[in-house]
Symmetry: C2
């Protein structure tokens, strides 16, 4: 199907994000298992619940646009998660692994910040205020998660990993 206009591209991007979110729900439990810090494990657990809500929000977006909610496999998220898997298979001290897990998770978050930032811009351009409200809510959540991970890293884990 040819992409004729910004609306077509918005749907294309939403299918990519829908795939990315589903991939994240499968990756997070593995990252929880690999984490040693209780605080980090709790942050991943919380982000899993947030991600499930974000998927429901995407269902609503597809519904508003009169489209079936469907995923188009996101190769980028596949690569980001493959890299996280490689990291988890490395031998590392517990606190170093925690720092590495945060580094992986922040790459995931930044992919989502870029992707949701893009679709927010399209929805705004297309005057789709209901869609925009839903997507902005998720974008803000992703930014908050990224900041939370930074504060966990800087507040304790990187210090423990130093020596």
């Amino acid at each position: 199907m040819k992409l004729n206009n910004l609306n077509d591209l918005l749907i294309h991007e939403l299918k990519d994000i829908y795939s990315a979110e589903h991939q994240i729900t499968k990756a997070l439990p593995k990252m929880m298992k690999a984490a040693s810090s209780d605080k980090l494990r709790a942050a991943f657990q919380e982000h899993l619940q947030v991600t499930e809500q974000q998927i429901k929000r995407l269902d609503k977006v597809f519904d508003i646009m009169g489209k079936k909610a469907e995923a188009e496999h996101c190769k980028a998220m596949e690569g980001i998660i493959k890299e996280a898997d490689s990291m988890m298979s490395e031998r590392a001290d517990a606190s170093v692994m925690d720092a590495a897990l945060i580094a992986s998770a922040q790459r995931v978050e930044h992919y989502e910040i870029a992707a949701y930032g893009t679709v927010c811009t399209y929805a705004k351009q297309l005057n789709m205020s209901d869609v925009l409200d839903l997507l902005v809510t998720t974008l803000e959540e992703e930014k908050a998660t990224d900041q939370k991970l930074t504060s966990i890293a800087e507040g304790s884990i990187n210090l423990k990993a130093e020596h």
Copy 2:
């Protein structure tokens, strides 16, 4: 090799970024060819030059740390570029393709913002001020590129792609 401390992890992450930057220098010329907007093509051209400088800056970082500059294949950037390649193979109106190229490029930028953000945090924790200065310079360039792409999208391309 076991990752025993934050210094080991910093080197590990730098090798990942070194690979990512080299992959980007190969992807940008393809994105330039696929772009129709002169402004966008010029932005990609400029970013290619900036990326080459960033690689030289990484060479300096490895040198300061007494390590050989080497890449460890970045699977995440491979995935992000694979997705950009898929997008470039789609049939799309010229302005819609330009918007899609910006979306792909911003995913690349955000990967780098996350990755350089991480290594800056480690260098700061390890009191490596010379390394930190070099990495912060690049981090700020990546953020500026991301903002420039947003302003090109919002200033002209998304409007052209609307209908």
